[in-house]
Amino acid sequence: MERRRCPGKKAPDSPYMPDIYRLRIISNSEAAGDAYLLTLHAPQIARSCQPGNFVQLKIDFPGGGLWRRPFSILDSDGDNIRILYKALGRGTSYLTCFTPDMELNAIGALGNSFSEPGRLDSIVLAGGGIGVPPLYFLAKDLLDKGYLPENIHFFNGAADAGALVFLDEIADLGVSTYAVTEDGSMGIKGFVTEGVMQFLMGVKKTPVKKDTSLYACGPNPMLHVVSKLAEEYDINCQLALESLMPCGFGICMGCAVKVRDKNTTEGYSFRRVCHEGPIFNARDIIWE
């Protein structure tokens, strides 16, 4: 596996380094699908962040909690970044109570970014649950860079229609948007991987061959299936991984993921999801 620094991560042409900021909250309110949308005034981060990057937020919720909490950047405009989050546990639930003009201590932007697909590829984005944010940012970024909306296929999966996150906003980008629900209450029935598989089967059958690039973010079992699909169909696939992250900037080795590594006697090594990731090539990951 090459150890290249991915775009967004202190690329040689960018003087940007992650830093600690006190970010003012612009807004923090409910979005569709049980999710919340948080807008933070963060000029330094906004100007340099890339799809896949994340921030580590310090949420001092009552009763404690030691670590910061990692959140992907959903997108950025000149001065602000947005975060789309679900209130799953203690920290994220408490985060919903923060109101405009309060400040949040953040470290960012952290992590690497995606490699770009070929100009004419079919681009498949597969987000399960709260896996939408990095892919949304990627879709926006690709459109900015001139990729054609009709080449971008965004699969958004959830348990049911009510839990689908940010579906309208994705559709508003103009990309092909597919809802996938486990209970079939909207769109394709099944896991989000079901939708992706159907799409790949369809592509295979089309006479005009096109390369496909697959990007996915979601729970590990989903990413595992996605990896298998990518292998089966022999397509490029990048995954945005999650992990427990005590630090988020590479000093604790806690967020490790097992990757193939020919340079070690073991044939594998552990990489930091926060620092060499969170974006990995699917074929590098060793699933256990």
Partner: protein, 306 residues
Amino acid sequence: MMEKIDLSLEIAGKEFKNPIWLASGTCGYGEELADFFKLDQIGAIVTKTITKEPRPGHPPPRVFETGYGMLNAIGLQNVGVDEFIESKLPFLEKQNANLIVNIAGRSVEEYCSVCEKLNDASQIISAIELNMSCPNVTDGLEFSKNPKLAEELIKRTKSVATCPIIAKLSPNVADISEIAVASEQAGADAISLINTLVGMAVDIETFKPRLSNVTGGLSGPPIKPVAIAMVYKVYNSVSVPVIGIGGIMDYRDVIEFMLCGASAVQIGTANFINPRISIEIIESLKRWMESRDYRSLNDIVGKVRA
């Protein structure tokens, strides 16, 4: 006014500009923290444990948050001493970091062979810290539990190494001063403590341990009172400098450790939450000393009125 305050200390002839150090395993090899501050500002950086051969470490999950503390079982993932010397030391040298290299091994021989290799670089290494106490791998721990083994380890490494030796002790013992005394008698130039407490957590949904290694090391604020009690006990048993570690989150914690006898302290888990914490602590410590009209660490170290 601030200029008059002298935060420096000396251990076995080596000078440290201040008593705020970074604990092993919580600062990598300095590369990532250099994004947040200049490494030469802190008293010392203690590198992640280095072993003779590279080690992959334990599979995930390796960490778990327990209330206001955390468990870890990283498993001494490290690049091995050769790669360390080749690819990590030059960076640290360039940064002008005051460097302490933490090492471990499966046998006394392994410790010694790491020491030997480090001798070539000894002009830029202020001390070697012996990790006698990692609860997550079989090596090390025995040395911290058995005074005889501790003595042998320190005698042998002392005879090989050209720089001072710091013995880092485990809290998972009945009487830590016994090991500290044995270490001192064997020639340790300083004692650092504590490493993590053995702990465990289980996911009640899946019935699986939160760590792949089942048990791990507890660190952070929960262990501070335990660390303070042990520093106090060891300080009263040995005459070499004692270095306090465990749950330090701010300058007040540092003062507490120093009052109980710590000549210097190491910041561990706190780096994860605030990578600039050590620098902030140095500043606050100075301000506090100034407000009390203290000039040097001698005014504080061991001054608890028990």
